[in-house]
């Protein structure tokens, strides 16, 4: 049974923060598909389209029939631990700093034998569940978990390294005025977050959720993502103890190009949705990167809430979608820039929301704030990189992956009226 994690002691300011180190990042192109599936929480391997043999390690040709048609498919997680070792010395700094490290050979029910990280609660020669997780290099790795959940299993140091679990961590919600802020705060609190901060723009303007946030014990601090000085001021105060940042700041209005008479709203959309993200990252990013290996409450994740319209423009929110596409593209740059530190960027995509007034004319289904909050916390706990919350987001993702041009054509139909 895993020993439950205790809240970390207050940090000694005279001590040097541990410099972030990472497990090996380099992979073959074929192996990156394992990472891509792990980024969404799926365990997938190649299965030969011609003879059905499941392959591992990832290949460019089938080891049974030489077919080069090796599609990736989700695999049954069952397996048996047939051999194990505890590594006590390694030339790689990341593992050296985390010794001893348990690894083992798992024979999968699906066929091949894999090398995997072994959870501390797995007994010798036991049946295991194999999952794929992203490690601190951002690459997919296989983990053998006990066949059934054990108490506190997420507190195993291995699982802490393969997740961004909010437990004992300090979280900043960047915009307290967001319709999703109270539900997020509640879900984070339930997941064991140590402190929840929320940035508040235009404090003089009343809004209904403030009392709710206060009642939850959220620390409300002034910050406006359109105001560089205010972002830098708050980063100066709490940047060194922000372990997870969830960017809820959003400027949302309907309209494409011709519906609007000028660029006023578009400017606001860019100020909040695109430049706001950039201001936050410039102010909070460096300190978070520097603390990415800082023990139990190391900085772990940067979370962007993005409209699924970022993938393919979604009328009647055409101009807003464009700002979301910008934010999405910027999040990919952030991923690359955060990668050397191990800080994760998690994008949570969602469709029209229940609580935002501007979506009122749209038909259901809509995403509730509670559902979005659950997705955020679940994604953090599983260390995901891309989360698709709700039916609309998942539908658009699937159509986008099937054929982005067909999706674009469907999204831009002119209608039969004219």
């Amino acid at each position: 049974m895993t020993h439950p994690l205790s809240p970390p002691p207050k940090k000694d300011p005279q001590k040097r923060s541990v410099s972030p180190t990472r497990p090996p990042e380099v992979r073959s192109r074929a192996a990156l598909h394992l990472s891509a599936a792990a980024a969404e929480g799926r365990f997938a391997l190649q299965r030969c389209a011609d003879c059905g043999k499941v392959q591992y390690p990832p290949r460019d040709a089938c080891s049974a029939c030489l077919s080069t048609d090796l599609p990736w498919q989700d695999m049954a997680p069952g397996g048996t631990l047939i051999a194990e070792t505890t590594v006590r010395t390694s030339p790689r700094l990341y593992f050296r700093e985390r010794m001893p490290w348990r690894a083992g050979t798992v024979q999968l029910d699906a066929g091949p034998t894999v090398l995997a990280h072994i959870h501390g609660d797995v007994a010798r020669h036991a049946r295991v569940r194999v999952t794929a997780r992203l490690d601190q290099a951002g690459q997919g790795v296989l983990v053998a978990l006990p066949e059934t959940d054990t108490p506190n299993m997420e507190d195993d140091p291995l699982m802490r390294a393969l997740s961004a679990d909010p437990k004992h961590r300090r979280v900043l919600i960047t915009d307290a005025r967001s319709a999703q802020a109270p539900a997020l705060a509640r879900a984070l609190q339930k997941a064991g977050a140590a402190i929840i901060f929320a940035g508040e723009p235009e404090s003089w303007r009343p809004y209904p959720q403030r009392a709710e946030l206060e009642a939850l014990g959220v620390q409300i601090l002034p910050m406006d993502v359109t105001d560089t000085a205010s972002v830098q001021k708050l980063a100066g105060e709490i940047g060194g103890k922000t372990d997870i940042l969830i960017n809820t700041a959003r400027f949302l209005r309907p309209g494409g190009v011709l519906d609007r008479g000028d660029t006023g709203f578009a400017r606001d959309e860019l100020e909040v949705n695109y430049l706001g993200l950039m201001r936050l990252a410039q102010a909070f990013g460096p300190a978070m990167c520097a603390r990415a290996s800082d023990g139990v409450n190391a900085a772990a994740a940067w979370v962007n809430l993005l409209s699924v319209g970022a993938l393919s423009n979604a009328r009647p929110f055409g101009a807003y979608s464009a700002s979301q596409a910008g934010a999405y593209s910027l999040s990919q740059s952030l991923r690359a820039e955060f990668r050397p530190s191990g800080l994760r960027v998690m994008n949570v995509f969602f469709g029209p929301t229940e609580e935002d007034d501007w979506y009122q004319p749209l038909p259901p289904p809509r995403v509730t704030a509670a559902a979005l909050a659950r997705s955020v916390v679940d994604g953090l706990q599983r260390g995901l990189e891309d989360v698709w919350c709700g039916d609309i987001a998942q539908d658009l993702r699937d159509r986008f992956r099937r054929d982005p041009k067909v999706l674009e054509r469907e999204m831009t139909l002119g209608g039969e009226g004219a």
């Binding site: 497990p23 090996p24 380099v26 992979r27 073959s28 074929a30 192996a31 591992y56 390690p57 990832p58 080891s63 047939i82 051999a83 194990e84 070792t85 505890t86 590594v87 006590r88 010395t89 390694s90 030339p91 790689r92 990341y94 593992f95 490290w101 348990r102 690894a103 083992g104 050979t105 024979q107 034998t113 894999v114 090398l115 995997a116 990280h117 020669h125 490690d135 290099a137 690459q139 790795v141």
Partner: protein, 391 residues
């Protein structure tokens, strides 16, 4: 499988080992040149006399055997590069012997060597194979120690081997190494020290692991007629086998490719395992030596621990094994680790082994194993050598 043609008429001469160094500021080129020169001198030959050249090395980059010809001033009409680590010598010998028999070359130098800089083992590890990069390094980065720990763990589970069983092998090899002035390890090793050693990757501890170092090994292959004309002591090649990626569907490696070819080996040699005066196994970890002793027919699968329990594995014992100390006590100079047993076996059956000589040795088995590409060693080789002419 049909019995392959005989290797008759082929002579193995001029075995040469450089002393090994833990770390070297010199290059693989330096070490290979040193061993080549040593071997040629032992045969009374000059570089210009060679018309075949074969090399095994991990640290030559960006060069290969081709670059070495210009670097070392050689002009061979037969050239070969064997990137097969611990299985290199057996593979090298098969190819060179056939080339000499066919007349494609008359005198072939077989050389294996590597350097070892302070950081070169780490760098070698980080670029060893694609499968290791994708599916092995990310899991603790224990290198070969971790890979062999898994095999050892399973072997102990299935066959009841104990750490003492592995220790007996390591302790005996250290005793042999103390008689070899070139061995890296100079201090005796007791069973107590073996068992109390620092754990590296459970169940493997410090003395189960080889010490990476710099060095090189070489010998020459020519016709028996030529060897006699030069008045050189020589060994004959009675049989040789190699195999790659055997038993790919075994979930974990408890046997090697030798099992597929062992009958061919003894049939071609016209001998039985019991007739061997000494055995040189590839000993990167003791479990692999046990596997070879089983798979090459000395005892049944899983019985090597019991088989070895009442044997004396030292040069003066009833089962002389890795007589120069092997890699475990002699050191592992990269690809030269694949040659250490072969070069020592040539010395033994030609009566040139000095302090480690097994009295009257005529028949030797040399076995090789190499290249953990992902979870198992892919290459296996073995050869039976007999006395041609003694020193």
């Amino acid at each position: 499988m049909a019995r392959p043609a005989s290797y008759e008429g082929v002579a193995l001469v001029a075995p040469f080992s450089t002393p090994y160094q833990r770390y070297s500021i010199d290059t693989a080129h330096h070490w290979i040149a040193t061993a080549l020169r040593g071997s040629l001198r032992a045969a009374g030959l000059k570089p210009g006399d060679l018309d075949g050249f074969q090399v095994a090395s991990f640290t030559l980059f960006p060069d290969t055997a081709v670059g070495l010809t210009q670097h070392l001033g050689l002009c061979p009409r037969w050239l070969d590069h064997i990137p097969m680590g611990g299985a290199s010598a057996g593979v090298a010998l098969r190819r060179a012997a056939r080339a000499v028999q066919a007349g494609d070359a008359e005198i072939i130098a077989c050389v294996a060597g590597d350097t070892n800089h302070i950081d070169s083992f780490r760098q070698l590890l980080s670029s060893f194979s694609r499968f290791a990069m994708d599916a092995s390094y990310p899991y603790g980065y224990g290198g070969p120690n971790a890979s062999f720990a898994l095999l050892t763990d399973r072997y102990m589970t299935d066959y009841g081997a104990t750490r003492e069983d592995f220790g007996r092998l390591c302790v005996a090899q250290r005793a042999n190494a103390l008689k070899n002035p070139n061995a890296v390890m100079k201090k005796p090793l007791t069973m107590e020290q073996y068992l109390d050693a620092r754990p590296i990757a459970d169940p493997i501890a410090l003395f189960d692991c080889v010490m990476p170092c710099a060095g090189a090994e070489a010998f020459l292959v020519m016709s028996e007629d030529r060897a006699r004309a030069l008045n050189l002591p020589y060994a004959r090649l009675a049989a040789a086998i190699e195999r790659h990626n055997a038993h790919a569907d075994d979930p974990i490696q408890l046997r090697g490719g030798w099992t597929m070819d062992v009958d061919v080996l003894w049939d071609q040699a016209g001998m039985a395992p019991q007739e061997m005066d000494l055995v040189q196994t590839y000993d990167d970890y003791p479990v692999i030596s046990m596997m070879q002793i089983e798979d090459l027919g000395f005892c049944a699968k899983g019985e090597a621990p019991a088989f070895l329990r009442d044997k004396d594995l030292t040069v003066s014992g009833d089962f002389p094994h890795n007589t120069s100390g092997g890699q475990l006590s002699g050191g592992q100079a990269g690809a030269a680790g694949g040659f250490i047993g072969m070069v020592e076996a040539i010395r033994q059956v030609t009566g040139q082994a000095g302090g480690t000589q097994v009295p009257g040795a005529e028949h030797a088995l040399v076995s090789g194993f190499g290249m953990i590409n992902f979870d198992r060693g892919l290459c296996s080789s073995a050869a039976v050598l007999t006395t041609g002419a003694r020193a």
